[in-house]
């Protein structure tokens, strides 16, 4: 087993265990579960970055320019962004869902592993090392935001139905706090996506002659940008904070998946998208 595979196995297994522990923590609030899971999540995330570096060392090809590489980075960045917010805003209660999703995306990414393929000429640029991680990080932030929105909606739904779960519900931050948290995470994702689009445009200018080609991947990223710009504008109005914003936050997840994966796998192909990974 090569070094990158060792790191990969460690990340996947630590994510699996910590996701289970954190989901159990979400329901039980037994702090030992959190104490067990937090170090595991950190180790798993560190191993994922180590795996990307080891893969680069082995192949001398940046592990970003195919779906396997970008999904690995997406999964690692989701966990890294989550860890940052979890420490800053005591968000560990939501960790099980984020880590489970990260593990699923990492496992799915493995199915796209074709070994080491050098990039096509237009991707042989230093911009690839700047643009791809930034865009993928913005997707990761949107995923974390959608998990918090989902928890908001669960709390909102159950909170309106008095019953046995109320005590448990009280252990989750207030709806207002969850709304602000989603906003704060989107406020990380949207500037990242903006920088991603700008660096992509810069790169496109060098590679394909025009900074904007109306390529499906570019326009899909633009639609995601428009979506979150609309979210931010609605959030400036009291009446739209809360449930409405949370629905939007949740809806952002399928849209992000569409932009990230469906456009590459289903829509864009050689001759249609300049961003096809299947070339």
């Amino acid at each position: 087993m090569s070094l990158d595979q060792v790191f990969l196995v460690i990340s996947l297994s630590t994510y699996a265990v910590s996701a289970l522990a954190l989901v159990a923590y979400f329901f039980s609030r037994d702090s030992w579960l959190k104490n067990l899971a937090v170090p595991l999540v950190i180790v798993g995330c560190a191993c994922q970055f180590a795996q990307l570096i080891a893969r680069y060392e082995l192949t001398h090809i940046w592990p970003l320019l195919n779906l396997y590489g970008s999904l690995s980075l997406f999964s690692a960045m989701s966990v890294a962004i989550f860890i940052f917010f979890a420490f800053r805003y005591r968000l560990w209660f939501a960790g099980g869902f984020v880590v489970a999703l990260a593990a699923i995306f990492l496992a799915y990414g493995l199915t796209w592993n074709e070994g080491s393929l050098p990039p096509v000429p237009s991707l042989q640029s230093y911009w690839a090392k700047i643009h791809v991680p930034i865009v993928v990080s913005s997707y990761a932030a949107f995923m974390v935001a959608s998990v918090i929105s989902g928890i908001y909606l669960i709390k909102n739904y159950l909170g309106a139905r008095p019953g046995r779960g109320q005590l448990w519900l009280n252990t989750i931050p207030s709806l207002a706090q969850l709304d602000v948290l989603t906003y704060r995470i989107v406020a990380v994702g949207l500037p990242l996506l903006t920088v991603g689009i700008i660096t992509g445009a810069w790169w496109a200018k060098e590679a394909w002659g025009a900074y904007w080609q109306w390529d499906p991947k570019e326009t899909a990223a633009l639609s995601l940008w428009i979506f979150y710009a609309a979210y931010m504008h609605l959030h400036t109005r009291n009446a739209f904070r809360g449930t409405f914003s949370a629905w939007l936050g949740l809806l952002g997840f399928p849209l992000m998946l569409f932009v990230f994966l469906i456009v590459n796998i289903v829509i864009g192909g050689p001759g249609i998208s300049l961003h096809s990974y299947k070339m």
Binding site: N113, E114, G115, S116, L117, P118, V120, P121, S122, Q124, S125, A176, Q177, D179, V180, Y183, A187, L190, P191, T194, V195, I198, A201, K205, E206, A207, W208, G209, A210, Y211, W214, P216, T219, A220, L222, S223, I226, F227, A229, A230, M232, H233, L234, H235, T236, R237, N238, R241, V263, I267, I272
Partner: protein
């Protein structure tokens, strides 16, 4: 002096114009209207992602059911991004943005210093301290100043209010973001007005002029490199380099040689020329009953080009170059390296397809009626793109201004404290409230911490 009374009709018209103008301002300055515009913009953008753009009409009838294909073509969804609807929606967004910035954002984000009903605001608190009001006012001002707040005092009807603002300058972040978007739009408009672009497929040895630059490029040589790589799901032939060696003449520089490769364009009189693709030109010989046929265009055909057989309605299209034909099976292989090349020919009669064939280089293909065609010699061509875009610097500046605006708006939270100190039976009573540009929930924790710290400092 007598003034002219407005006539009934004249008055009505001007009142209606006024009313219409007010309605326009109200609608276009409403964030919800802007969000509706965003939704339409987003949906149109997504339609362009899902529906392949810029294909010819028949492609849509091949791809979709006839009613859907007709809808796509009729509504112009085959070219969404250059449609009137798309440009129009961006125009409306710009208009709304301009109206809103002056009507709403500036007044709302830069509110005047005014007294408030403290207990009516969501974030409010009050407490009593044993000191006299003057001392308390001074220490409240010092408390906020120490924490970087901008402290201002104003008197209203004899009452003195202290206003403490945090990140006051950042209230302009929205303006910065909006201005950034306008600058990007201006840069794009400059390209539409003065820029140009296009592509050229130049055969090896051929010279092509680049429109509007006065320059000409002669392709001396084109090379590409393909690397076969064994992957888990089979052999992949990965292109690793495309290089065009050209001679540039007619530009402001003396004639010179240059190399164009992907990601490394050259600049000819301010127009950038990029490597974008490559292909194979093919020279064909057409014979009838063994004799060369005259009257055919002599030039080399590029993939997609067609020739018509003299005195017939028959067209032969050079559809595709096949680098390697399997010698055993006679079928095209996926190997893009040239070892046993050939071409795919499509035959049309009166515009209707009648067949297709794979022909090896040098081997004649019988076309019926005594005609035969031989693919004789292939020549590489280089696909180059050229583009002159004087709007780029403005788009770049706009992008950075927009980004700066987003960061200011999202990461700095302007907050204002309203503090009023009154005389109380045992000293002074401090009433304070706070507002932010993003509602109160986002500041609740900090408000509680600051009021607690203020109380503690006075205890």
């Amino acid at each position: 002096m007598a003034t002219a009374e407005p006539t009934g009709i004249g008055f009505n018209v001007s009142a209606r114009v006024r009313q219409g103008y007010d309605d326009f301002l109200r609608t276009f300055s409403n964030v919800l209207f802007a969000v509706c515009l965003f939704v339409v913009w987003g949906i149109l953008t997504l339609l362009g992602v899902v529906i392949a753009q810029g294909k010819d009409g028949s492609t849509y009838f091949d791809l979709y059911a006839a009613p859907l294909a007709r809808l796509i073509v009729r509504l112009g969804l085959d070219n969404v991004y250059h449609s009137t609807a798309y440009v129009g929606i961006i125009g409306l967004i710009l208009l709304s943005l301009a109206v809103c910035t002056f009507k709403r954002v500036i007044p709302a984000r830069l509110p005047a210093l005014r007294p408030v009903k403290v207990e009516h605001l969501t974030l409010h608190d009050s407490f009593e301290v044993p000191d006299d009001p003057q001392t308390v006012k001074a220490s409240v001002a010092a408390f906020f100043a120490r924490r970087g707040f901008l402290v201002r005092k104003r008197e209203f009807n004899g009452d003195e209010w202290t206003f403490a603002d945090r990140h006051n300058w950042a209230r302009r972040g929205v303006l910065v973001a909006h201005v950034g978007f306008v600058i990007i739009a201006a840069g794009t408009a400059i390209y539409w007005a003065r820029g140009f672009s296009g592509d050229k497929a130049i055969l090896t040895g051929q010279t092509a002029s680049i429109p509007r630059t006065g320059a000409a490029l002669t392709l001396r040589d084109f090379q590409y490199r393909i690397q076969p790589i064994q992957t888990k799901s089979g052999m992949v032939y990965q292109p690793v380099d495309y290089v065009s060696r050209v001679r540039v003449s007619g530009s402001s520089d003396p004639p010179h040689d240059a190399v164009i490769r992907v990601n490394h364009p050259i600049d000819v009189n301010g127009t950038l020329i990029y490597q974008s693709s490559y292909g194979f030109g093919m020279q064909f010989a057409v014979r009838q009953y063994g004799k060369p046929v005259g009257g055919l265009p002599p030039q080399t055909l590029k993939e997609g080009d067609a020739l018509t057989l003299p005195q017939t309605t028959r067209q032969i299209q050079y559809a595709q170059f096949v680098p390697t034909i399997d010698k055993a099976t006679g079928a095209a292989t996926a190997d893009p390296r040239i070892s046993n090349p050939g071409v795919v020919l499509n035959v049309f009669d009166d515009g209707q397809p009648v067949g297709a064939t794979l022909a090896r280089l040098g081997k004649p293909v019988d076309l019926g009626g005594g005609f035969s065609i031989v693919p004789q010699r292939y020549v590489l061509y280089s696909g180059l793109q050229y583009r002159y875009d004087p709007g780029i610097p403005l788009v770049g500046i706009g992008a950075f201004v927009l980004l700066a605006g987003l960061c200011i708006s999202f990461y700095l939270l302007p907050a204002r404290f309203y503090v009023r100190v009154e005389i109380a039976p045992d000293g002074s009573r401090v009433g304070m409230a706070a507002t932010t540009v993003k509602g109160s929930d986002i500041f609740a924790g900090e408000f509680a911490a600051l009021t607690a710290a203020l109380k503690e400092s006075r205890a």
